[in-house]
């Protein structure tokens, strides 16, 4: 899923300070799971902002709404009738949701309420870690299911590098060396023969190097 973290309160206050009517728009998908922009977080932020502006003597109407997804037309259409009645929409969705909302409602300012961080997994409640960089050409079949692109600081495809010590990366003793994990896993699977095969140069044109990407699936298009 896409992992995000809430923006600092001062930053949010600064972006919405000139509004008279604000909609805080949550998303029921990834940002709900990573507890950054779901219905609960919308409620907490709305309550906090109401208190802040009331204390400042400012009267601002702050409404709350949480959509099933902000990255799909059908759910974003649910606010069609109300979107342009607000000075701004503060979206707590990932960057995709913020942009899709902004593209759909051109007359309303759409602001981000979270920082979108990475594609990751919930290791435990309150701890999310990166697993994928969406490079567009998955190498997991060759690396024991552990991604060197997202989990190796250097994105080394034939590792480990000289910075690997006791299974940890040279950038931090807290960070596992992805290639150590790969070697351990391939050993456990009895597939170290695959490790000996040199990975060819990776085609990075499917990554961001090729500019904004798109996926087309013609058989499901209408």
């Amino acid at each position: 899923m896409i992992v995000a973290s809430p923006k600092p309160m001062e930053e949010i206050i600064d972006t919405v300070k000139d509004c008279k009517k604000l909609l805080i728009l949550g998303c029921n998908e990834c940002v709900t799971v990573c507890e950054a922009g779901g219905k609960k977080e919308v409620g907490v932020l709305a309550s906090a902002l109401r208190m802040y502006f009331a204390k400042q003597g400012r009267q601002i109407q702050i409404d709350e709404r949480t959509l099933e997804r902000q990255c799909d037309h059908e759910y974003l259409e649910e606010i069609r009738d109300i979107a342009d009645t607000y000075d701004a929409i503060l979206s707590l969705a990932c960057g995709v949701g913020v942009q899709f909302t902004a593209e759909k409602y051109l007359a309303t300012v759409v602001l981000p309420g979270v920082n979108t961080c990475f594609l990751g997994a919930t290791e435990e409640r309150g701890l999310w870690t990166e697993r994928c960089q969406a490079c567009g050409a998955c190498v997991l079949a060759k690396t024991g299911g552990i991604c060197p692109v997202s989990r190796c600081a250097k994105r080394v495809l034939n590792g480990p590098c000289g910075g690997s010590t006791n299974g940890k990366c040279e950038i931090s003793k807290e960070v596992d060396c992805a290639w150590q994990l790969i070697v351990d896993r391939l050993t456990a699977l009895g597939k170290m023969d695959e490790y000996e095969q040199i990975a060819p140069l990776k085609d990075w044109s499917t990554d961001r190097a090729g500019g904004p990407r798109k996926v087309v699936k013609e058989d499901v298009q209408s």
Partner: protein
């Protein structure tokens, strides 16, 4: 036991303090309560193992949110006691009342008065 505690305190029952969320504490302050405190079981003695520890973290989070908007995080607090400690319950009620009197009235009340005027 017939113990007395300040009459300004309104008790709201919850099945377990683990049920109390950040938004419940914030709404209490937003609606004009001068303070809100959670009274949970003794640490380590929760019937559901960690309900009171969850509450403790949520109270801390509510304090952070309130501080971030200048409302005074100390308006929300957490206390722990066993259900057999009536005198302690009354003592906590007095302590909380004194703490809140020191902080002064909730700014939301003043803001609401301003709106009405």
């Amino acid at each position: 036991m017939r113990l007395e505690y300040p009459a300004n305190i309104k008790v709201i029952r919850a099945p377990c303090t683990g049920k109390i969320d950040v938004i419940h504490l914030l709404r209490a302050i937003e609606k004009g309560a001068d303070g809100a405190y959670v009274v949970g079981c003794m640490e380590g003695e929760c019937l559901y193992n960690n309900g009171n520890f969850r509450a403790k973290k949520r109270v801390l989070q509510a304090q952070k949110v309130l501080d971030s908007v200048g409302m005074g995080g100390q308006r929300v607090q957490m206390y722990n006691l066993s259900s057999a400690e009536g005198p302690k319950f009354a003592a906590f009620a007095r302590e909380m009342t004194e703490k809140i009197r020191e902080l002064g009235p909730n700014p939301m009340k003043l803001a609401k008065k301003g709106e009405a005027a």
